[in-house]
Symmetry: C2
Subunit: 608 residues, 2 copies
């Protein structure tokens, strides 16, 4: 780089700092000091290495930039101003009601693929994007991720480092802004760049240690990163938090607040500038690879046959993969249990083994979704709780992902409570814009697996370990937001889902012997729930029993109570009432108080 | 070791294998092959290195053994049989209804500190135990953790490795059973012991690579581990899954199922044995260190003062720490925001900085609780979702921990949705045996912070970022399971908690201007909820509005609906109705539809 280039980069870095300070000052909050440490890193990236068509955020050839340290959003927005994407006027709407320039980035902002702000989330998604480039889109775009040093304490980062190292993702660069200061105080490793280099080197990454305020060193490192073969690169950059303003530079207690004296800071930084950057577009137009679409030929199961819904899930997803080239699958090293192996066998190119790393599995799915693929990620329902923050962030990211949790409930039997998904319905219901499905038989599962591909947001489907009888014909439809009325009776309504549907049907038979007739509803769509139908049936029968293989809180029962909030009738809610141990599936249902006998008792007690 | 010792160890290892096969055969399920790989490792540990008073599981001088690969439970139970803790008859109750020998270990079994079975959980808790030994109990007991190789893909393991390495916990040894085969197939690194050694070495661990079937090498490594100074030790042992039985040894597809031909396997292993081991007791009796108890002098706030509940939490916990020597605190590197820093300042010896690693923070708390301490761990409510699986496993472990989530709800304002706890009430309600508290003012917070120390199980308290007016006097009591009736009116009942209590009071004033009188309930105890009082008020007023700074699913509204299930009245549930952006606190409440205006509208619409 020549002298003029060097000067321009220094000036641009100063502008990015100035704009970070101005944005935070205008907002009265924000993270200017965390932005200032990475100003040179981002200035050099923007001017000399990022390949983006500024006029077309959807250009598939574009590089991707993820701010894993999302709190440095002022820096990102300052970059967008320099690139002409955001006006100076908009920059100063930072953190105001209605502004898309939120406190932490979301995809409301162009060129932002995923919401960040929960530390340890952006890099894992970046790995997903790089994996998509390599194995799905088959395009040469590069993924750059700006990471904080604090967030390297998050285990999810090491899931991501391991995944990227193992896959040899040389199209991925982590730029680690080692400013030494976390929110509360110094980080574990301070400016010991070697501590990070040793760890990352051991995880199979190419590492470069630099002075993060030296444009020359940064330029070399970024060029080296793009040119490196077979390995992802980590640029480990020593920086100063609050760099450039003596009142805050490298000082503790200056995290996450605007500068006290912004005027003085701007003076020290040389005042506002209006440099613009012509970001280099990608070398050539590109068309992402897409697998061919075929015909949907879902598996069909004979009524009366006993088939586990997890088996139907695997077989249906394999069929869906044949029909839709956009469908891909991710496994948490349990595909033999979730039955995702059926997809792996049919479509090995679109199957991703993520090993036992549920956060990384979810993040990779989010990255794939950001590039237009339709990912299904599956593990035990219990272990999806490991990724709950990532599911939450998927919703903030407006990501469209399908998550499938197997081994729901106590009905798994002998393995015991550590393996039982008993919180999943509550957790997924409480995700904004989510869909929660819980089929009870194989044909219903197959149809829902196919239909969930067309929904938006986070979609969750729960499957059951054990075999259950097929009760629906293969051509029956199961609209999301609907339900099925399996029996009609006048004295009470029993609402069940999944494994408890079969218990409810058996209870209806027992009750018939008692001379009591009940309506039985299969609420396979727990969110959205078929409120209209439920209200009608509840009113018609005057009494409701809900029964679910889940803790009593937050699941089917609470969903039904919500639906009936305006049209109240007495409801008896049955859920798992005590901590299970080991036992057979049927013993578990009995001990939990959710089997046919318990349902019968609940109905009779309501009628007493 | 002499020839006789060597032979005994080999025979004992064979017995542990035989008993693993027998237990799984009797159960018809289980993980014998994952047990067989670690038979020599555990035989040598049991006979020559573990220091445990078999007659007294509560002896504070005892070493601790954690099976992080909890699915190898048959091996653990076989060890307990050899040690005389479990009879052969009980061993064969494995996985049966009522047996304490569950599919995965829980503390129902003597010498088991925590439930395992969710991979990546045991080692983090082991770090917590070792930290407790070092910094709290101040005793020389050693913590041994048997890890699987598959689980090293979990980020939580690397949070644990980092934490232990940073703390220099030489009283901790991870024994990594590298049997090369995960559940579905080969692990990422197979038998590349060097890949693990490089990673762990970089994380500050002493590493020893051995043949995990050679008692001599194992004995040397375990002795070396206990003798190592300043660093934790990882014994990286190359083993064969299913070792000793040709039908399963080192074969894929043999995970998690009993051997097909158990008789043949037992023949090959030389048949059942009844060796017994006299486990060496600790060198000397020991008394754990305990901090002195003092007087409880909770902070008092004047009615009308504006104080953030997070501030009251920090000040109250500092006071509680003075009163109770068993209280300790853990931070996720946000103590300045959660206000845990008040405790850190008052009781630096009992304050643990866990950096941004919420899973490890929670696991360390569980380890401390297992040793009788009363831990409070705090971070943003949003980021506790990162540890949701660990919270779930805390419940399975019957662990008594206090978790405090700050920055609950949209009321945090400008930071935006990534920082807002909006799923936490649903998530914590759905944890078995949990308590969920959500105070609205500083005096209430202080009292609940103190009272929650005496509860059992997982206790969650949610605090608010912004200042709220103090509405209760400092001497008021707030029983867990109670509520406060703040206004009485005849036309509707408004149930609120935390920040919405103040909106509900303001709405009551607005409604009074409309000529409408409402009852306002502060439901600070969301679980258990004061059902009796709610039913009475609901019946008296005939209509209920619930309002919460949380998604509409699974939180306060659903809890109230559950309480009213038997005594239904029309309920209007107000919760955050759309994805927030940035805005001021009051704008957020308004946009979410949970402010005073929205409450007023809801009441009026119910009355129409």
């Amino acid at each position: 780089m020549d002298e003029l280039d060097y000067r321009f980069l220094c000036e641009l870095a100063a502008q990015l700092r100035v704009d970070s300070v101005r944005a935070a000052a205008a907002a009265g909050s924000g993270h200017p000091t965390s932005s200032m440490s990475a100003a040179e890193l981002m200035a050099v990236l923007l001017v000399r290495h990022l390949r983006v068509d500024v006029a077309d955020p959807a250009n598939p050839a574009n590089d991707h930039l993820v701010f894993s340290k999302g709190h440095a959003s002022p820096l990102l927005y300052a970059m967008l101003r320099a690139a002409g994407v955001v006006t100076d006027e908009e920059l100063l709407t930072f953190r105001r009601r209605g502004s898309r320039l939120e406190g932490h980035p979301t995809p409301r902002v162009p060129f932002v693929d995923v919401a960040t702000g929960s530390l340890g989330f952006g890099l894992p998604v970046g790995v997903g994007l790089a994996l998509t480039a390599r194995r799905l889109d088959r395009l040469p775009y590069h993924v750059w991720v700006l990471c904080g040093d604090s967030e390297l304490a998050e285990g999810s980062m090491w899931e991501a480092f391991e995944h990227a190292g193992h896959e040899g993702l040389n199209n991925l660069t982590a730029i680690i802004d080692v400013n030494r200061l976390g929110q509360r105080g110094p980080t574990r490793h301070g400016w010991d760049l070697g501590a990070y280099a040793a760890r990352l080197g051991a995880f199979g990454w190419h590492t470069i240690e630099i002075d993060g305020h030296d444009p020359g060193q940064i330029d070399y490192a970024l060029a080296d990163a793009r040119a490196t073969r077979r390995r992802p690169t980590a640029i480990i950059a020593r920086t100063c938090k609050g760099r450039g303003v003596s009142a805050v530079e490298n000082r503790e207690g200056k995290h996450g607040k605007p500068l006290e004296d912004a005027e003085q800071a701007l003076d020290e930084l040389g005042g506002p500038r209006s440099l613009t950057v012509e970001v280099t577009p990608p070398d050539a137009p590109a068309t992402p690879y897409r697998y061919a679409d075929g015909t949907l030929d879902l598996p069909k199961y004979a009524v009366g046959e006993r088939v586990a819904t997890r088996t139907a899930f695997g077989e249906a997803l394999a069929a869906l993969g044949t029909a839709r080239g956009d469908v891909v699958a991710l496994d948490g090293e349990v595909a033999d249990s979730t039955k995702l192996e059926a997809f792996a066998k049919a479509h090995p190119d679109r199957f991703f083994e993520c090993y036992i790393a549920e956060q990384q599995m979810t993040a990779a799915a989010i990255g794939m979704a950001a590039r237009g693929w339709t990912p299904y990620a599956a593990t035990f329902a219990a272990f999806l709780t490991r990724a709950y923050d990532f599911v939450r962030m998927a919703a903030v990211s407006r990501a469209g992902i399908c998550l499938v949790g197997s081994h729901g409930g106590v009905s798994i039997g002998e393995d015991g409570p550590s393996q039982m998904g008993l919180e999943d319905l509550a957790a997924f219901r409480a995700v904004h814009g989510s869909t929660v499905l819980y089929p009870c038989d194989a044909n219903q599962t197959a149809r829902l697996v196919a239909d969930m591909a067309d929904l938006e947001g986070v979609r969750y489907l729960r499957t059951t370990r054990g075999e259950t009888p097929v009760i629906y014909g293969p051509d029956e439809e199961f609209p999301v937001g609907g339900c099925k009325i399996l029996r009609t009776g006048g004295q009470a309504t029993v609402v069940a889902a999944g494994v408890t549907v079969h218990e409810a049907l058996a209870a209806a038979d027992l009750l018939a012997e008692d001379g009591v007739s009940v309506t039985v509803i299969d609420a396979y769509s727990i969110k959205p729930l078929d409120s209209a139908e439920l209200v009608e049936m509840a009113r018609a029968t005057g009494k409701v029993v809900t029964v679910e293989d889940h803790w009593p809180e937050g699941g089917l029962g609470d969903a039904v109570l919500s639906a009936l909030a305006d049209a109240p009738v007495p409801v008896r809610k049955l859920g798992v009432s005590r901590m299970p141990g080991s036992a057979t599936s049927q013993e578990q249902l009995e001990d939990a108080g959710i089997d046919r006998g318990a349902i019968r008792e609940a109905v009779l007690s309501l009628l007493r």
